[in-house]
Symmetry: C2
Subunit: 735 residues, 2 copies
């Protein structure tokens, strides 16, 4: 199909200093877990975006010097020739598709804990980071107040890094001053308490940043375009940077030195105010701040706000709020988003659901990222997976998939893309499985985009190959029916259910009296099915993610009195998805009572017995066989309630798979060569990983052992190979 | 000096299957953050232990297959030829010093979250991990219940990994069944709920482990010695493995298949019960369980218990409790511990203080480890630092060090070892600085070993070079005095102090009314100085480590009513040092009231105003300049108390350094070439990092810019180099 001409403005080139971006799609810097130590992963992940139409593609935050070391979190680095070589792989790949490559110059100050290099950072004043540089531990990392020597040295580090970026082949260098990093610590009076010419007045606080831009410009001239990423409002009123004060003043002051603005809002401690999860923030949520920027500058402006919808992109560019669509998460969910708009394939866009699972992996540190919607994100190099290209079917063996949840529907999609004949069967009247339930939780409506994408694609694929089928609203299939079905391959994707008797990770046993067949005890599955809930709700929680706070919110909003007894932090994983802070505010606002460090001993009609998990005494001694080494827990107490909701653990719905496996002897005579189990039916996991598992089997189904993952390319240093040509890897003491 | 013959038994060789260990010192497997991806770091760190007299040196936990992927935590892997090449660097180095090299075969089940490989693990039953595979998130990771095919496949993974270990050159392979890993999940009824011949009775639960040992033995024959690491008591009575039941039964049953036992206690969720911090556990703390083992086996036994003291080692081996001293932490604090015993240099041993900062880095994930006592730990390869060897002085420039805390005393030690003339000056009457205070906190007495080691060494070094001096109990030096002193180089190591006015990481401002010059307001420094404390103590805490819980314990034990208002988890970092669980039990037991998510708004005589940090509403909207985007926090409440202790942040005591720097013009005429600042005086940090900083300057003082760290060797994949000789690093889609 052809492009709708209404979108022409999004495909109009624009000058950025000495460079020209070919359209209005700009992948803003975002982390992906590759750093510079996985150059193949970084190259392929960014390169595919250039191929998919992003006119500019940036690195993630790229540390300018070992004094900025974000370990345990993974970032890129441009410290030396080794880093330049590794980054050049990305630059070349991006250039091969006609896009600009940008490098974001990152200096974290005390927000980067230096746990690899063991360095101390410099800043305008001495402070310890408000960000949890180590998870759970805000305030852990301190910096050093720079005197003028140190301040000049830091500016020189920026200049040297910019020159290395130029020599690597980058088209844009971006001085990173958003998310409370780098020069923002000098501009922001929240951090800057200096009394010399670098502190106090706006002009003084802006001096470090302006001088840095000047020095870089002088060094790189017009060889590359100079960008700065700037938070125009730090969202804490006059104690920080406000759009109506320092924000716009700085835009005006710094514009002459720049070729492009990359703007957003917020800081690092609550950077979910920028990378807003869909639970709290909708598309374009920054515009009340961003809409003022162009009053203060004639330079082009990139803005973000989880722009996944072409209509909204058109609107924000046409109305002149921004010139270029910046995107991180939408470009991860669909690296080919611009190309799909250009080709008139809007309904093929794989829309970001705003779950922030991508971000959660950076937050926890040390882990490559993943995407709930795009199972190929991060897998482009190591597994050779292209998000839009599929290996043609290698056999004519047809496939029956039982279960159309995240794993089953994604597996069906990949197999159909490859040309296999697939029948997809589910008891529900929609594809999506568990996602249909989860998307009814407060704030999680956009998670249904996961289902919608697969539904649209499967409908198209079925039209292309009439032998494929989707059978919804079916009676659950039995093993006999599957054996008789006539498929060569069977894939079981029957998902998982919440424990009905309180089995949990602390005891690995049921909770006495917990029985969801009783009227007053519910599992989340039964909540979704509509089982009745009384006035006083007690949620017994052992799960670290969204279910407990989401059900607490749902019932509190519906007027119930809600208490949550939880052994772990309530929604602890949501700190990693940047949903945590506002979820805690919401819990507080709704008057939900949270009992932390609390486990459930017993359930009875009308009450539960709870205990503090640390109530068993700190002294340990050997008392002989059959004796616990600590005293009895003395903290058991009864609490009254009308309804108990058990969020204790999940269990695979795998009886069908196990029966088929046990009847392997009958496969051959029924023409079945393989029976596989995928997704939650193999082991419960988050939606992203269930989707990945279905995708993986679709890609690997002709391999030697498709039930188990095929090895992937690893990016690890090989002993004896050179890091730099002039480096000897052998051991030498400093003697 | 010569070895005391009493220690001869510790230097008696012992047969371990077809191998012979040359003495009774065995570095048990422990993580160090090298994994297989930093082969140089691993080689050098382990190799120095062989050089230092450890008769056997093991890898860290070494994953047998990609299905066991512990990412975000770093472990070794023996998956393929690339790993073998990287591990061989260690094996060769260990062999070059006459020691045995061991490989610990690790399969984590759901305790390994698979965040890099995205695999699912197998186990006897389906369960989710009781361990926080992601920090803060126990229960996050699930496994798959293995049927017999899967169970056999898993055993074959062990066999294949053992063969790769043999082919890499290892002398020992260790089937890791401690810390709730691998075959322990089959033996332990806490996890194993099977009803077939692999579950139920002891014999059935032991079957998986025994078969695995049999299969490995059949494959490797006597080429290597076969070891198993086993927790003989999981410390939760009859629901787990007890020494008096399954523990000894298993020792008896499995002994015929083994050449060596490596035993301990506990599980992974509370593995501080094994790797016990000195706060709770003293040397030999496992012996009430371990002393029974030799009743059940004739095979040699390695046991652990933070053995740093040669007398205790002698006692436990002579009395026949164990045959071989196993050690992880003592071997990190002093890699040359056995050699120092052998050479009669007992007082040179650098004793582990049991702070578990080494472990904290593995726990948080993605980070190389460090040691509080041994600044060279992890630095052997990348910085070329040998713990016992020092580059001779490169100049005759003498050095004045002001401040004999962790940074100053370590810097003095290194410089004196190198042959520099050093004068070390401090106002206290002891070296050790802040450590002298910290070691008076409840449970932290052994942290004084940090001071004791340096004191002993400095006294010895001064005897060797009479020009060196230590001047304690001195009046604080002024800048004038320093300029007049006559030293060529000046190092300022004056430490830091706790904020006296409540400056904290949330506001970066003082707390109104917080003023430690008032009688009812104290800093921790004033507590150590003996300032008076009233009956009702309110601790205002913004610090994530040990100070708040330690002072709470101290005052609660002394009969005060203690409340802690804390913005972050109380002692959150202590979850990483494995002190967390018992500290929480202790807080509960002592009746200390903890108010979480609570910050301080104001301090007044007799009361403090506190607020919930999430009390400001979850809705954010743009309200114009000067307006906060959220509603006012409505949760402020007054709380009565007699004394307020401010644990809000630390600030460098750097005025002396800044004055000297400002008077740079006067240096030359006073014969001063350099003035440096190190440790907390540059920026507050943990003791390990302050010690490191002093050490670093001592090593690098002749470099071009000694104030700033010299670059180190990096171990990062270089794009374009081969991982395996037959591998093409170029991008190729799976098409």
């Amino acid at each position: 199909m052809a492009k709708d001409p209404r979108f022409n403005i999004l495909f109009t080139p624009l000058k950025i200093g000495s460079k020209t971006i070919r359209n209005r799609f700009y992948q803003v810097p975002h982390c992906n877990g590759a750093g510079t130590n996985s150059p193949g992963m970084n190259m392929a992940h960014r390169g595919i975006k250039a191929e998919g139409g992003w006119g500019a593609v940036n690195t993630e935050q790229c540390s300018i010097h070992p004094e900025c070391d974000d370990t345990l979190r993974i970032t890129a680095r441009i410290w030396d020739k080794g880093d330049m070589r590794n980054l050049k792989a990305m630059v070349d790949h991006v250039h091969s598709h006609g896009s600009l490559a940008g490098c974001e110059l990152f200096y974290g100050g005390p927000h980067a804990p230096g746990l690899e290099t063991r360095t101390i950072s410099r800043g305008p004043s001495q402070y310890n980071s408000d960000f949890a540089t180590v998870p759970g531990c805000p305030g852990f990392t301190y910096n050093h107040e720079a005197d003028k020597d140190e301040l000049n040295r830091l500016q020189q580090q920026y200049v040297d890094a910019a020159l290395r970026a130029r020599d690597t082949g980058f088209d844009l260098v971006n001085v990173y001053g958003a998310h409370a990093y780098g020069p923002m610590q000098w501009l922001n009076p929240y951090y800057n308490k200096r009394t010399d010419e670098y502190g106090g007045s706006f002009a003084n606080r802006a001096r470090f940043w302006i001088e840095t831009l000047e020095k870089i410009r002088k060094a790189v001239k017009d060889d590359i375009a100079l960008v700065t990423r700037c938070a125009v409002d730090t969202l804490y009123g006059g104690k920080g940077v406000e759009i109506g004060e320092d924000g716009l003043k700085f835009i005006e002051l710094a514009s002459p030195y720049l070729d492009l603005w990359d703007v957003n809002i917020g800081d690092i401690t609550e950077w979910g105010e920028d990378a807003g999860p869909s639970r709290f923030y909708q598309i374009g949520h920054e515009n009340d701040w961003i809409r003022h920027i162009k009053q203060a500058t004639t330079k082009p402006v990139v803005g973000v706000g989880r722009y996944y919808d072409p209509e909204k992109m058109l609107q924000v560019v046409s109305s002149g709020i921004i010139d270029i669509i910046g995107a991180a998460r939408p470009s991860i969910a669909d690296p080919w988003l611009p190309r799909k708009i250009e080709e008139g394939r809007i309904d093929d866009i794989r829309t970001c659901i705003g779950c922030n699972v991508c971000i959660s992996r950076w937050e926890m540190g040390g882990v490559p990222f993943i995407c709930t919607q795009n199972a190929t994100a991060g897998e482009e190099y190591r597994r050779g997976w292209h998000p839009e290209k599929f290996e043609p079917a290698k056999s004519t063996k047809d496939v029956l998939i039982v279960g159309a949840g995240p794993a089953g529907s994604e597996c069906a999609r990949v197999l159909m893309e490859r040309g296999y004949v697939v029948h997809l069967v589910d008891a529900r009247d929609k594809i999506g499985g568990y996602v249909n339930d989860v998307a009814t939780l407060p704030g999680l409506g956009e998670w249904s985009f996961h289902r919608d994408y697969r539904q649209t694609q499967l409908e198209k694929l079925i039209k292309k190959n009439k032998q494929c089928q989707i059978a919804l609203g079916q009676k659950r299939m039995t093993a006999d029916e599957i054996l008789d079905y006539g498929a060569s391959r069977v894939i079981i994707a029957t998902g998982s259910k919440w424990s009905t008797n309180g089995v949990n990770h602390r005891t690995h046993e049921p909770i006495p009296g917990a029985d969801a067949s009783l009227p007053h005890v519910l599992t989340p599955d039964q909540v979704f099915e509509g089982k009745k809930v009384g006035k006083r709700v007690m949620i017994i929680n052992y799960d670290p993610y969204y279910m407990a706070p989401s059900l607490a919110e749902r019932f509190a909003r519906a007027g119930h009195d809600v208490t949550v007894a939880t052994v772990c932090g309530l929604g602890a994983y949501m700190d990693y998805t940047l949903e945590g802070a506002n979820m805690q505010r919401l819990i507080h606002e709704l008057g939900i009572k949270v009992m932390g460090e609390t486990a459930c001993s017993k359930v009875e009609p009308g009450r539960v017995q709870l205990h503090n998990i640390w109530g068993d005494g700190y002294k340990r001694e050997f008392k002989g066989t059959g004796q616990l080494p600590r005293r009895e827990n003395t903290s058991h107490e009864w609490h009254e309630c009308d309804t108990v909701i058990l969020i204790t653990s999940r269990r695979s719905e795998d009886s069908l798979y196990r029966e088929l496996k046990a009847r392997k002897a009958e496969w051959e005579k029924n023409g079945i060569s393989d029976v596989f189990v995928i997704g939650d039916a193999e082991a419960p996991r988050i939606i992203a990983d269930a989707t990945f598992d279905g995708h993986r089997l679709g890609r690997e189904i002709e391999d030697a052992d498709p039930q188990h993952q095929k090895p992937f390319k690893r990016e690890q240093r090989a002993w004896g190979t050179a890091y730099n040509p002039d480096e000897n890897p052998e051991l030498e003491w400093r003697l």
